[in-house]
Symmetry: C2
Subunit: 339 residues, 2 copies
C-alpha cells in the first residue's frame, strides 16, 4: 500500500492481526523457520553500560526474518488458488522469503525486483527457483507490475508487509524474543525493531503487547525514510519527504501500510532514525566485535544503540538484526572505511 493516505482512511482496518494469529503462525513455522539465537555480547554490554539482547535474524532461513511472514501467508493460500502460484515485489529480502516459502510449499513464484537490487538477493531468489522480473525503481510502479502479473497468471499477490498473514508470521520473531527473555529471567525495558513498511514491527508489537506490555517499542528507520516516525506524529500514515539515496535498501518503503500503521500506532512508543554513516559504523562493529555479517538495513537498531540515539545505561534493551544479505563488494567497501 504505497498510495497517499487521505484523512478518511485513518480509521483502523477491520481485519487487524492479533496475537492469536502470531501463535498460529508459530505452529505453522515450527521446524521450518530457524529459532534464531538472542545474542548478548559482553563487549557491547560494557560499551553501553547496560544489556543488549540481539535477535539474529541474519541467521534465519534466507538470511532475514522475511521467510517467517512469507511462509505463514503462502501456507494459507486455498488449494484452488495454488496452481497460479505467487507473485511478490521486493527489494530482495521479501523476494527470498517468498521464493523459499513457495519452493517448500511447491508453488511457482514470480518476483518483481528493482534492477539495482543487491546481486546476492537476486541470485538467491533465483536459487530458490523463482522467476525474477526487473523494474526501474525510479520510473515504474512495482505494485502495478505485480498486480498485472497476478491477474495474468491467476497468481496470489504476497504483499511485503501490509497483510495480516505476513505480519503474524513476522511476529513469531517477537514471540521468540520474549520467550527467550523469560527463559533467561530477564525483562526487556525497550525493544528496537528495524522498520521499512512496518510489518516486522507490527508482528513484534503484537507479541510485545501480549507478553511484555511494559516494554517500550521503538522503530528505527534510515534518516530521510522515517515515514513511520512521521506518521506517529501525524496520527495517520504519511509518506517520508524527499530523501537522499540510502544504503539501507531493505527499508526504503515510502509510507507505512494501513494495517501495519494501525497496529504500530497502538503499541509503539516512538521512532528513531540513523544515518548511513552510523549504519556503516555499526556494520563494522558487527564484523569486528560481534563477528556477525549484517546488511545495512539490518544494522539500523545496532546503529541507534552505538550512536547513542537511545539510552541503554542500566537497562535491558532488545533489538533486531533483521538481515545479512549484503554483497561482498559493498561489505568490503564499508569495512575499509574509517570510523
Amino acid at each position: 500500500m504505497t498510495q497517499m493516505i487521505q484523512p478518511s482512511d485513518t480509521s483502523a482496518p477491520a481485519d487487524l492481526p492479533t496475537f492469536e494469529d502470531v501463535k498460529a503462525a508459530a505452529t505453522r513455522l515450527r521446524g521450518l523457520a530457524v529459532r534464531t539465537p538472542l545474542i548478548e555480547s559482553p563487549a557491547l554490554n560494557a560499551a553501553v553500560g547496560g544489556r543488549v539482547l540481539m535477535k539474529a535474524e541474519t541467521l534465519q532461513r534466507t538470511g532475514s526474518f522475511k521467510f517467517r511472514g512469507a511462509f505463514n501467508r503462502i501456507s494459507q493460500i486455498p488449494d484452488r488458488d495454488k496452481a497460479g502460484g505467487v507473485v511478490a515485489y521486493s527489494s530482495g529480502n521479501h523476494a527470498q522469503g517468498v521464493a523459499a516459502a513457495a519452493a517448500l510449499l511447491g508453488l511457482p513464484a514470480v518476483i518483481v525486483m528493482p534492477a539495482d537490487a543487491p546481486a546476492i538477493k537476486v541470485e538467491n531468489t533465483r536459487g530458490y527457483g523463482a522467476e525474477v522480473v526487473f523494474y526501474d525503481r525510479y520510473k515504474e510502479s512495482r505494485e502495478e507490475i505485480g498486480l498485472a502479473i497476478a491477474a495474468d497468471r491467476k497468481a496470489t499477490l504476497v504483499k511485503p508487509y501490509d497483510d495480516p498473514g505476513v505480519i503474524a508470521g513476522q511476529g513469531t520473531c517477537g514471540l521468540e524474543i520474549f520467550e527467550e527473555a523469560t527463559a533467561r529471567e530477564t525483562k526487556l525495558d525497550r525493544l528496537l525493531v528495524c522498520c521499512g513498511g512496518g510489518g516486522f514491527t507490527a508482528g513484534c508489537a503484537l507479541a510485545l503487547e501480549a507478553l511484555s506490555p511494559s516494554t517500550q517499542l521503538f522503530v528505527v528507520e534510515p534518516q530521510g525514510y522515517d515515514d513511520t516516525r512521521l506518521s506517529f506524529e501525524a496520527g495517520h500514515p504519511v509518506p517520508h519527504g524527499d530523501a537522499a539515496p540510502s544504503i539501507c535498501d531493505a527499508l526504503l518503503s515510502p509510507t507505512p501500510g494501513d494495517i501495519t500503521f494501525a497496529v504500530n500506532q497502538r503499541i509503539a512508543s516512538g521512532g528513531l532514525t540513523v544515518t548511513d554513516t552510523e549504519v556503516k559504523a555499526a556494520m563494522r562493529y558487527a564484523f569486528r566485535t560481534l563477528k556477525l555479517v549484517v546488511e545495512p538495513g539490518g544494522a539500523v537498531c545496532l546503529a541507534a544503540v552505538l550512536a547513542g540515539k537511545i539510552d541503554v545505561a542500566d537497562r535491558v534493551l532488545g533489538l533486531t538484526l533483521s538481515g545479512g544479505n549484503v554483497d561482498a563488494e559493498l561489505y568490503c567497501a564499508i569495512l575499509s572505511e574509517d570510523d
Copy 2:
C-alpha cells in the same frame, strides 16, 4: 610443550583432566563465558543431505573459545601468586582470552605474540589491558621468552593448551554442545573440532566421553600441520613435517601436547586435513550463506564438511566454529576470490 617427544615420554601424564574438572569449570564460567548458540542452517543441511550443528564460538567473549580455558586456569591461581600476574604466549586468540580473563580477575598480564600476528588480535589483546611483547616466529622461542618473563616477574605462565585447567575450561564448550543436542532431542553421530595443540579437542573429548560416548570425534587440522593426526598414527606425540605457510594462524602448533595427546588418543576416532583453498571457500560460504564471520583457523571443520572430507549424508554432525578474529583486509581479499 613443543619439544620433540622421545619414546620414553609416551606414557600418559599422571594428572589428566577429567569430566569432573569440566563441570567445575562450567560453574566458574557461569555468567562470564557466553553460552554460544548451536546454529543450524537449512541451506547447509540441504547442501550436505544431513544435519550440521555448528557451535559458534566466534560469538564467545574475545571472539574465540580461548576465554573459557584462560579464565578457568587463571581463576585458580593461588592468592599468593596473584600479584605477579600472568604471562602467556600465543598467536592471538589465547592472548585475548588470557588478557580478558586476567582483566576480569584483576591480574596484570603480559602476552608474547609473534610479530606477524593479525593486527586485530594484537589490538584486542592490548584493548583488554595486557602488555604485548613481540617475538620472531622463525628465529626465537616463545616458550623461552615466556619462561624468562615468568621468572623475572614471578608471573604464572598460562600455557595455550597443555594444561589441565585450560583443557577443562575449553571442555565447557563441548559440555554445552551435548547439553544443547540433548535439549533438541538430537544425538550427534560425529563431532569435528578445530585442532592446533589439541586443548580444545581434549576438553570437548572429555565432555563427549561422559555425555555421548558413541559420538565419533575427529580433529581437523590445516594441511601440513596435521601433527595430531600423525601422532594418532604413530601412537605418541610427533611433530608435523615441513609445511608451507598457512592462513590458519590459530592452528600452527608444531606437536600435540603431552596431556592433550593422552586425552585425545584415548577418545578421538581420527583426524582430517583441509587446504587453505578449502578454508577460504568455507569462509566465503560462512559470509554468504551463514552470515557468520569466521577466521581461517575457525573455519577448518566447516571446510572439511563442504569439501566432502567426511560424509554427512543422513547423519547428524556437530562442528566447532572456533574463532572469528580476522583482519578486514585479509577477510576481504578472501571474499574477493572465486570459488
